[in-house]
């Protein structure tokens, strides 16, 4: 270990990373009077000038060359399909796109702002109660989150108010409301903003779904449908459907991000300090690993800096949180052979599929009219809203038309038999670009015993530290799920009035393909729960091992949910912050007795 070049004065709390959860924690802990330092490995950036029009409307630079994402030349991870395989580096961005820099992935997300289904927070208990213990396959290691929907409801509400989320409640204090999602957990209040308008394709989907007795509604969107001022006093402008949302920063101040909702207030606080280009390489702790003493980071000049702190909060991307715990020796690493150990356990991902609906030339769909979120979706086939007994799988997903843009390099849908090049390809892009609607399916991935994260024995990052190693492949349960849900999407597609449709879904035997973008919804590795033998953090996101270390992010999900993760990630950060403020700061120690 290199000698520390610089030792900084002690602070109350240090936040590792500076995306959504760090901004939330920063706000909460400074409100509690703590002196807080946030360490961000990337650079500072803001709506102006970094996301300003017209330079942001550049598909090549942002969408294809990945300007806003993690630079893999400095740090990546290795991936293999099974514990027997040899992992190789994820050399080029493909399947998922971790963020870096101020705002993290909160800059370039879509704003698809869901909560969670109540039964998903107690998935193992729920499935056991309804279908019996034997319904859960032996190698499936799902478990309960250890926190209930009702406990989290105020924090879902709070995060939606911070984001200015647009939507329509379907369950208001237990009353089902026409036009919203009738399957959702109950809300204590209506969304802060009404839903975004529907594009043509979404309206056709909603009509077809309704005709088939489903319950379509507007997808909750952290893309403001009206001007909005949040409880912190930050102001959002209305979304103008520019079509440059995911992979881009929002030039309209309409997409909720740390920059648009929290940072203008937080960064002005005297008890808050942000240090960019400060790459945390380990959490320092006492000899027993029971108490963290601070963190060590490498600054922009390559110097090693020790930042002492009473409280350490991991707010990096979930894969990096797992890696930092492993590099720091906090918590027992998971071993898939014995099933023992916890750090790296239950890594899971998201299952996606889709159906393209091709229309005749009398129906231009104007795909470039896009919002990151919104559109029309159904939740009838998510969670446990349908009888799983005859289907033989656990989980589900939502189906919908969320038209995020018509950027022609990445978002061109063509019939499968189209040649990849030549005059026929060219004919096809002319014939289909304007006249295609895409239905998406987005669903769960269950945790399995041999899908996990650990440290790679061979490959290293720019600082010489081992890379994280991901062992992951699709399992039968999740393929069954997507075939069922995407099969239903195909029926809706047929009813939409196009001239032809084509479904795309994973098949049995398909391996996880790292080259093709799917989602940046990696979960697990630092999972939450009620037992230190099967979880890294307790229900308040406090590590079982070191009471002054808390872990945020989707790494705490014990398996993946059907929805996009950010709404749950934000709510859990507020929930954890509340526990720190009301209990931990008064009497520092374990918030749950092991």
């Amino acid at each position: 270990m290199a000698m520390v070049d610089i030792k900084k004065p002690q602070v109350d709390a240090v936040l590792i990373g500076f995306g959504w959860t760090s901004a939330i924690m920063g706000m909460e802990l400074t409100e509690a009077g703590l002196k807080v330092v946030a360490l961000e490995r990337g650079e500072n950036r803001d709506t102006s000038p970094d996301f300003a029009y017209p330079l942001i409307a550049d598909e090549l630079t942002f969408g294809i060359r990945h300007k806003l994402f993690q630079n893999l030349a400095r740090e990546t991870l290795t991936i293999r399909h099974s514990p027997k395989g040899k992992a190789v580096p994820y050399r080029q961005l493909g399947s998922f796109l971790p963020g870096t820099g101020v705002g993290g992935a909160g800059v370039h997300w879509n704003g698809q702002h869901w909560r969670v289904l109540p039964e998903e927070l107690r998935l193992k208990s729920h499935m056991t109660e309804r279908y019996g213990k034997r319904f859960i396959p032996a190698d499936m290691t799902i478990q309960d989150f250890g926190v209930s929907y009702d406990e989290l409801e105020p924090y879902f509400n709070q995060f939606e108010r911070v984001c200015g989320t647009s939507g329509k409640a379907g369950n208001l204090n237990g009353t089902i409301v026409e036009g919203g999602n009738p399957f959702e957990g109950q809300r204590s209040s209506e969304f802060p903003l009404p839903p975004l308008a529907d594009v043509y394709g979404a309206s056709l989907f909603a009509k077809a779904a309704k005709d088939l007795s489903y319950h379509p509604f507007s997808e909750p969107a952290a893309n403001a449908s009206r001007p909005y001022t949040n409880p912190y006093g930050a102001q959002l402008g209305p979304c103008n459907f520019c079509g440059y949302c995911e992979r881009f920063g929002c030039y309209m101040y309409a997409k909720a991000s740390p920059q648009t909702t929290i940072l203008p207030i937080l960064t002005k606080k005297p008890n808050f300090e942000l240090r960019t280009q400060s790459n945390v390489v380990r959490i320092n702790h006492d000899a027993q690993g029971k108490r963290a003493t601070g963190v060590t980071y490498i600054d922009a000049q390559g110097r090693e800096v020790f930042q002492p702190a009473d409280l350490v909060v991991l707010c990096a991307y979930e894969l990096n949180n797992t890696r930092l715990l492993l590099l720091s020796g906090i918590g027992k690493p998971y071993n898939p052979a014995t099933g023992k150990g916890v750090v790296g356990r239950n890594y899971a991902y998201q299952m996606t599929g889709g159906v393209a609906v091709f229309f005749d030339k009398d129906k231009p769909m104007n795909p470039f009219i896009g919002t990151g979120a919104g559109g029309q979706v159904i939740d009838d086939l998510n969670g446990d809203h349908f009888d799983h007994a005859p289907l033989g799988f656990i989980g589900g997903g939502y189906i919908g038309v969320i038209q995020t843009g018509g950027r022609p390099i990445q978002q061109m849908s063509l019939p499968k038999d189209t040649p990849q090049w030549g005059a026929k390809w060219k004919q096809a892009i002319k014939d289909h670009y304007l006249y295609t609607v895409n239905i998406q399916t987005h669903g769960t991935v269950m945790a399995h015993r041999d899908n996990y994260l650990d440290l790679d024995p061979t490959y290293r990052d720019v600082f010489g530290q081992p890379l994280l190693r991901m062992t992951f492949d699709w399992k039968e349960n999740d393929i069954k799920m997507t075939q069922y849900v995407t099969g239903k999407a195909r029926e809706i597609a047929r009813a939409m009035g196009g001239k032809s449709i084509e479904a795309k879904m994973k098949q049995f035997g398909d391996h996880y393909d790292t080259r093709v973008y799917q989602t940046t919804h990696n979960v697990g590795g630092t999972i939450m729960g009620d037992d230190p033998k099967s979880s890294v953090v307790n229900r308040f996101l406090q590590t079982w091992d070191a009471h002054n270390v808390f872990v945020m992010g989707a790494g705490v999900f014990p398996q993946n949910i059907g929805y996009n993760p950010t709404g749950l990630v934000g709510a859990l950060a507020y929930w954890s912050a509340r526990a720190i403020r009301t209990s931990y700061l008064k009497t520092p120690g374990p918030l749950v007795q092991a």
């Binding site: 030349a73 309206s203 459907f241």
Partner: protein, 241 residues
């Protein structure tokens, strides 16, 4: 062939070309096959701008023009790749972060792996182009009476490209399939990206497909169901298509 031999042969070729063509303009780099095709097509293929490649050598440039035009040919549907400046786009990309794989993890060891685990070669895209073009031209000379790719009739060019795409051509120094993958990806990018990157001149592809480019504000057209968007495309640097 060693690096120095290769450079020297390239220099010889360049000298000969310069001797043959007093004014070295882009028109002089046009693929010979394009000149042999119909007059109408040759006209649509003629780039109006002049651009001197910064990375590619003259013979590589000739290959690139010929290959791009086969991947996206000019026809009655709209402009082809060469007319829209796709070779210029690719040449500019070679000197940028993409060409150098500047944002990719390029540390060894380099192992072969299942294709689903992604690109595992130590070669940067610019190195793949260099080795790939040399390998394809060498293959063509061997198979087709000493003619380089650009000198072949277009049907033979297409069958060579198909061979690369299907991984049917085996080269020592580069994967033909990887080379084809970069070439096709970059050709489509140059054809469809904003003109500030050197391709898609006059937003030709956007006009063909109906993409309004960098307008990026459609609030007034969201509820115009089934109505064609009326405005022509704009680019980041301004100017209407």
């Amino acid at each position: 062939m060693s690096r120095s031999e290769k450079s020297s042969s390239r220099r010889d070729f360049l000298c000969k070309m310069i001797a043959l063509v007093p004014t070295v303009s882009v028109a002089a780099y046009l693929p010979f096959s394009a000149l042999r095709t119909s007059t109408a097509q040759a006209q649509t293929n003629s780039p109006t701008q002049t651009y001197s490649p910064k990375y590619f050598t003259l013979e590589e440039w000739v290959f690139l023009q010929a290959a791009c035009e086969r991947l996206i040919p000019a026809d009655e549907n709209g402009p082809g790749a060469v007319e829209l400046g796709v070779p210029e786009f690719i040449d500019r990309e070679m000197d940028g972060p993409f060409g150098h794989a500047a944002n990719w993890y390029m540390q060894g060891p380099f192992a072969t792996a299942q294709p689903e685990l992604g690109y595992q070669s130590p070669l940067t895209p610019r190195a793949v182009y260099r080795a790939g073009i040399a390998a394809v031209d060498a293959h063509c000379r061997k198979m087709f009476s000493n003619k380089s790719f650009s000198e072949l009739p277009i049907t033979q060019q297409d069958s060579v490209l198909t061979g690369l795409e299907k991984d049917a051509l085996d080269f020592d120094n580069v994967s033909g399939k990887s080379f084809f993958g970069f070439l096709l990806q970059n050709t489509k990018e140059g054809y469809l990206a904003d003109p500030i990157h050197g391709g898609n001149k006059n937003m030709g592809s956007w006009k063909m497909i109906g993409f309004p480019g960098a307008r990026a504000d459609f609030i007034d057209w969201v509820d115009k169901y089934g109505a064609r968007y009326p405005l022509s495309p704009v680019g980041i640097a301004g100017g209407k298509g």
